[in-house]
Amino acid sequence: MSQLQVKVAAIDDVSAGVRHFTLVDAHGGELPAFSGGSHIVVTMPAPGRTYRNAYSLLSSPENRAHYEIAVHRQPQSRGGSIYMHEQVKVGSVLDISYPVNLFALSRVAKHHLLIAGGIGITPFMAQIHDLERLGGDYSLHYGFRSREHAAFADALKARVSQRAVCYDESLGQRMDFDALLRAQPLGTHVYACGPQGMVEALVSTARALGWPEHHIHSEQFLAPPVGEPFTLKLSKSELEITVQGDMSMLEAMEAAGVDAPSLCRGGACGRCELEVLGTDGELQHHDHYLSDADKASGRKIMPCVSRAKCGYLELNL
């Protein structure tokens, strides 16, 4: 896969635990344009292991001079966000993927309802640029724990005041999903990005109210959960790999030099799906992609986020 090389041009802390990075092309050229909602996968070469995390682009899609991302420091994670906060400095050079969009605005929607929670505001910041440029009809609802956790809220309010409503939890302000969704005219698409609980609540409310599936869009970058180590057997490659407790199967395969397919790395897009040939334990599905039937069948798994509680797991790769 072709990649891009960028250099960190600026870093600033915008809110509690959220660090904002400005990235420019490492060779002094233009970066590719992109569509709002896109993310990049940043490769972080830590000693001993390589992290790859997806971060939404929050900068204007038309700005080819730089990209901007925001990284929320997650203490109980595999360590990618900690690496970004502690190891990456101004001047650091990073390999990134081309922008990929798995959270695109519908080009046939009549209205766009944007629902952001906490750090989930990032993809909407880029999408708002597109909507303003295209003259799209939209409203943004942005919830956060307190003003301290509201990255970019002031900048947003200044830019799009009439179309944005903020909800400060510490002041008792909460989004009423039911009321909000019932009020939408035909042809509205709703987009949700934020903590798992918030996104799941929004999606299930929309479904209960009869919103068709293709009018509901959500993005959650699931971090692959940690677990116990096990042995991964790859039948076609004739390899046996140890998957450590703090890395995903996908990361273990990549570290072993296996060319495993992937795209979003967050359990949503389906690209990394592999066939399960056998195991002496049980599969632990953490993705949003497989159907309940597929998960129960035990024949498929998404190695970017899922694991197994077992001695060995054999995949058809």
């Binding site: 344009a33 896109s38 038309e62 990929v100 695109a104 519908s106 080009r107 293709h214």
Partner: protein
């Protein structure tokens, strides 16, 4: 490669011919004696010097004549170019992509200069020079998609990605193998692939769609498709079927060498930046049986492929009436020897 553009026709008197160089670089698609439809997608990485895959978009000796033929078809039937209202971002993406590719890879023929959003495009073979503002359709003589669609060989379809599928929401289609843009524009992937045989059994279309949905910027892909045409005719549209359909009756074992053509489509797919759309390029190459027989290995290979082709494919590709005539014409080159795997001419 030095380009000497030919004056030739793809209709009426059919003066189209391939030079020896064009014959040699022909994208012969059969590595084996048997052919079955498959996804056969591979990364669109630069091919060897002189190959049709050397550059992002291929410009060859037929460029000027093909653009002329395309213009005639569009004049007679403007419905061959269509773009749904929400596709304007994709149209500008397409214009930028084609201009940048041609100017970069064929600097003697094309140039593009930019001053912020003020661009100037020069197309020497067609004698065009156009200054315009990128993003402002009023500064071009026609929509951005049609403007450049007329200046690149082959057909183009712009696919909008939404609702877990791809929609053919814009197209410029003047050299297609027998499908109608006017009818298909706006269709989803499974709808427009409806009439392809055998594939539902193989699940080929589902796998191809899943793959394309994750197509990334900077990582284009390509595949080859093929059919046959009588006379070197580009416009084999359903619309004009009454004009070309009857040609199928004229082929016999004596004239098949001259009349029967192998038609290969080089299909390439590119993810676009602003619109997130996919550009689907369908570039058509024609070669007569006589020209193909310049390389006996190709003649042997195609003889076997055509003789043993699955009946559903024979029918779907419209070859039924003349299959035996062409097989008979090619048989004289086939001594039955094992020629091994591969598409090379010798």
């Amino acid at each position: 490669m030095s380009l000497a553009f030919k004056q030739e026709t793809f209709r009426d008197d059919y003066t189209f011919r391939n030079s020896p160089e064009a014959i040699r670089r022909f994208p012969f698609p059969f590595p084996e004696d048997q052919y079955m439809y498959s996804v056969n997608i591979e990364p669109h990485t630069p091919g060897p010097k002189g190959a049709v895959t050397e550059f992002t978009l291929d410009v060859d000796e037929h460029y000027v004549a093909e653009c002329r033929d395309k213009a005639i078809t569009l004049e007679q039937d403007p419905g061959r170019c269509a773009s749904l209202p929400h596709m304007m971002d994709a149209e500008w993406d397409f214009l930028e992509f084609t201009m940048e590719s041609l100017a970069r890879d064929y600097p003697e023929q094309f140039s593009l200069s930019k001053n912020g959003k003020e661009w100037t495009w020069v197309n020497r073979p067609l004698g065009l020079e156009q200054s315009f503002v990128f993003g402002d359709a009023a500064t071009l003589p026609m929509g951005p998609f049609e403007y450049m669609g007329r200046q690149v060989q082959g057909d183009f379809v712009l696919l909008d990605q939404r609702e877990d599928t791809l929609f053919a929401d814009a197209g410029i289609v003047t050299s297609q193998a027998d499908w109608s843009l006017a009818f298909n524009v706006g269709m989803s992937w499974h709808e427009w692939h409806g009439p392809v045989p055998q594939v539902t059994k193989l699940g080929v279309m589902d796998r191809a769609l899943k793959f394309l949905m994750s197509l990334q910027q900077g990582n284009p892909v390509r595949r080859l498709n093929w059919t046959m045409t009588i006379n070197p005719r580009l416009d084999t549209s359903p619309e004009n079927y009454p004009l070309w359909g009857g040609d199928r009756n004229k082929v016999n074992a004596q004239n098949a060498g001259e009349l029967a053509h192998l038609r290969v489509e080089l299909q390439t797919l590119f993810r676009m930046p602003r619109s997130n759309a996919i550009v689907f390029s369908i570039r058509c190459y024609l070669i007569s049986m006589e020209e193909m027989a310049t390389y006996p290995r190709w003649a042997k290979r195609f003889h076997r492929v055509l003789r043993d082709l699955h009946p559903d494919l024979v029918e779907y590709k419209g070859i039924t009436k003349y299959q035996q005539a062409v097989v008979a014409w090619l048989s004289r080159f086939d001594d039955g020897a094992d020629i091994g795997i591969g598409t090379q001419p010798e």
